[in-house]
Amino acid sequence: MAEIVLNNIAKSYGEHAVLQNLSLTVKDGECFTLIGPSGCGKTVLLRIIAGFESLDQGSMSIGSDVVADAGTGDSLPPEQRGLGVVFQDYAVWPHMTVRQNVGYPLKIAKCNPAEAARLVQKSIDDVNLSGMEDRLPSQLSGGQQQRVALARALVAEPTLLLLDEPLNNLDANLREEMRFEIKRLQKNLGVTILYVTHDQEIALAISDRMAVMDELGAIRQIGTPTQLFSEPADEFVFSFLGMSNFLHVQAENGMARFGEYSFPMALGGGHSGNGRIGFRPSDVVLRRSGEGIRAVVHRASFLGAITDYQLEVDGQHVRTAVDTHEALANDLLLKEGEECVFTLRNFHWFN
């Protein structure tokens, strides 16, 4: 069992409070992502779980064991927490070969040599590094070093794997490949994964559940990726999970009004008064004329499959993403300065 429970923890450096009164449970066997802007304390949280940082307040357990308790001052050192960590900068030891790097956890655990050799080979094969066992890290590419770090973190079959932006420095193809790899390892080995990133695409793709943190280190929302995407708790969560537009509207009797245009509020009909609605570029339905919010094309960028317009609406900017084929079929390839109208497929109401 590797359920992580953080109970009302806090951490500060000098005057600067990084985390305050934070509670969080990561379930056994799930892939949990902490996502937030840089400097929000997500890496500190991971380092606390790993045991590299002490707690100022609260307690924390992994499985059935309390591993840190600020009340008593007890803290289990990192090496006794039975976890695997992949660092942002790989932290592959430059003086050891791939095999020695991967085999180190087993050597420390005094695993029997034959068994260790078998496990090391399996780990190396798992991350597709077969044939590079005797190379030094200096002879590997960044992506390969990353995979060494991953193999090393997994070789001792930890129950908990902590990943700190492990795919950051990889190119797009390799990043996708490694993403599937991590997912596959999680399924095959049943390991609990805590993943820290600021990249919402990876987070949405990889997580069973995820938590969005803000700049002050507070958790804004926890849920499955689809929950967070379809029911964001607030503007911060909404805007962090993808490109977003906001417009000021007035709500009354289940209708929202922007300028002269009124439209029904399908979501959360009970709202009234002034508020903001948030929507994705893909929620915008564009027409040359007719009913809808009037806008002027401020900037048009043709991106291939998608055409991206920045519309100007009453002094505010709205981004859209129009399928180029559809736009061609409906005569919607607009030039800068042209007028148009749009309606919304879907939106969220924020106070």
Binding site: D65, S75, P77, E79, Q80, L83, R152
Partner: protein, 572 residues
């Protein structure tokens, strides 16, 4: 498989509040620096500023004003200034020549210009004394024989002589700094000036020179520092005619008046002046290197613009060869030849040369044998101890997060600004029974002084190596199940080993030829090679002294060659 076992979970591994490994290492590091460096220097200041337990500045000023003391201060300043000016000019010129012109055999010449780094300057001074002492010097005698003149061609026992010899051995400090700066300077800086229509002379004056100025100044300050505190050359060439600088006067006072209060006091006052001067120089140097200007010359190597020397190419090349021949080859050859003579002064001919002196020094005379053994033992001992304590202290300073580290950072700076003669005087004050331990006249007091003297080298090499070891490498090991000690053993130690080896040799080789410190501390059985060469020369045993100096040179060059070889294979 490596699951946490609940029974060991809360065995109260309290990280923060107990007195852990970190605190022990910190305290040990502070203790080493306190004992080895701080206490001796503090004792010097105490003796200089306090008379009968009372703070007494007037007496300090009075001591400084006394004839001989005052004269030594002036001499030190005069010699150091002269050497700094000459050596900076020579160093900058040669650096420019081998990096920015089309002079032939650059690599070879660059190597040769660095040779003086490895040769002990007092051996050079001895060689020049053999060649240019007014009456017996071989060159002066040749001059008189050829021209029939009464006077010597050049009297080496003079300020001019001392400044020339020190210049020969100290100019590499500027040379190496300026070479580095010129090689790393982005040529587009000069090229854009050229495109803007500036001539070569204007570019040199307005662009190149200002950019390398910090390097020149920083090298010049190093020379100043070194020359102020330099003992050997002045001792060999100055004492005979009454020219003293600060270190030689300290030596003379301590040595002749056998520890009387007055002499110790004069010594401590002079030493205080040295420490303060050194501190100011080091502060200035850091300031210059820390200023933003230097940043322009950071980064990778470029292929710099080369000036075509045209008609001057051959004359300048010959000039360089002459310089190398005169300052490196000639003194070295002189030492070996004189070492082969029966007595100093007889003509150097095949019939007069033999290996007798070398045999005598190496295999027959116990005093020189003892000196060689002492120097090698002291070098190995000091290098080993300093290497290990240096790596520990650097580890605390660079890597550890522990309260009280600031004190250590401050103490760690001290060894850089304490000259050798000051350390020697300090250990005399600290280890002559004042604290219940009397090591005076034993080899152990020299060992302690060497540790203090060379700690700076070790701290520098080791912290540079440790800065390369990123924290996450250690954390990764901890996450893999390694304890703090296992992580240190398996990750940190292998990665800093090159730094430690470098520190070892950076200490062992200079210790082998050390004179300034040991000459103030030696007793009958604790002579070092340097002391033996120096005292033999003092006693008029010129040929034996030269033979021993020759053997020392062979030891040093062999050692250096082995290191260079290691450094090269390491890189490849």
């Amino acid at each position: 498989m490596l699951r946490i076992k609940s029974d060991k979970t809360m065995q109260a591994v309290k990280q923060k509040r107990t007195f852990g490994v970190a605190e022990i290492i910190l305290l040990l590091s502070i203790a080493i620096l306190l004992i080895v460096v701080v206490v001796p220097v503090a004792l010097i200041f105490f003796n200089a500023f306090f008379v009968d337990g009372q703070f007494n500045l007037a007496d300090l000023v009075k001591t400084l004003g006394e004839g001989e003391t005052y004269q030594a201060l002036l001499n030190s300043l005069f010699i150091a200034s002269g050497v700094t000016l000459c050596a900076t000019a020579v160093g900058t010129f040669f650096a420019w020549l081998v990096t920015r012109t089309d002079i032939p055999y650059k690599g070879f010449m660059k190597g040769m210009f660095l040779v003086p780094f490895m040769l002990p300057s007092f051996i050079g001074a001895l060689a020049w004394k053999m060649l240019l002492s007014p009456r017996a010097g071989y060159i002066n005698r040749l001059w008189r024989d050829v021209t029939g003149a009464e006077d010597a061609l050049f009297n080496i026992f003079s300020f001019g002589g001392i400044i020339s010899i020190e210049t020969m051995y100290l100019f590499p400090f500027v040379f190496i700094q300026v070479c580095g700066a010129l090689e790393r300077m982005d040529p587009t800086l000069e090229e854009s000036a050229r495109i803007s229509g500036a001539g070569l002379f204007t570019i040199t004056r307005k662009i190149t020179l200002p950019l390398v100025m910090p390097s020149i100044l920083s090298g010049a300050l190093l020379i100043m520092l070194y020359s102020m505190a330099h003992f050997g050359t002045v001792a060999v060439l100055g004492i005979e005619v009454g020219i003293y600088n600060i270190p030689t006067l300290i030596y003379e006072r301590i040595h002749q008046s056998a520890g009387s209060f007055d002499s110790i006091r004069t010594g401590t006052v002079l030493a205080s002046v040295l420490v303060v001067t050194a501190a100011i120089i080091i502060w200035l140097q850091r300031k210059i290197l820390g200023s933003g200007k230097y940043q322009i010359i950071a980064g990778k190597s470029f292929r710099p613009m080369e000036l075509k020397l045209r008609g001057l190419r051959t004359p300048l090349f010959i000039f360089c060869l002459l310089y190398i021949g005169l300052t490196i080859v000639l003194p070295t050859v002189t030492i070996f030849l004189v070492g082969g003579l029966k007595t100093y002064g007889i003509p150097i001919t095949w019939e007069n040369l033999s290996l007798e002196n070398y045999k005598y020094v190496l295999f027959e005379w116990d005093q020189t044998q003892q000196a060689i053994k002492n120097s090698i033992g002291l070098g190995l001992g000091a290098a080993t101890i300093t290497m290990f304590s240096g790596v520990m202290i650097s580890y605390v300073i660079v890597k550890m997060k522990v309260r009280g580290k600031g004190i250590l950072e401050f103490l760690g700076m001290l060894p850089f600004s304490v000259p050798g003669s000051v350390i020697a005087l300090g250990v005399i004050l600290a280890w002559s029974g004042r604290f219940g331990i009397n090591l005076y006249n034993t080899i152990w007091i020299i060992l302690i002084a060497y540790i203090a003297r060379y700690m700076a080298f070790s701290l520098k090499a080791n912290s540079a190596a440790l800065e390369q070891v990123h924290d996450s490498l250690v954390e990764a090991a901890r996450a893999c199940g390694a304890s703090m000690w296992q992580a240190l053993r398996d990750i940190v130690l292998p990665l800093v080993r090159p730094g430690m080896v470098a520190a070892f040799f950076l200490i062992f080789l200079p210790a082998l030829r050390e004179l300034t410190v040991s000459v103030m501390l030696y007793g009958t059985t604790s002579r070092t090679i340097g002391v033996a060469i120096y005292t033999l020369n003092e006693d008029g045993e010129t040929v034996t002294s030269a033979a021993l100096a020759g053997i020392a040179l062979i030891l040093i060059v062999t050692g250096q060659t082995i290191i260079n070889h290691f450094a090269k294979t390491k890189q490849a």
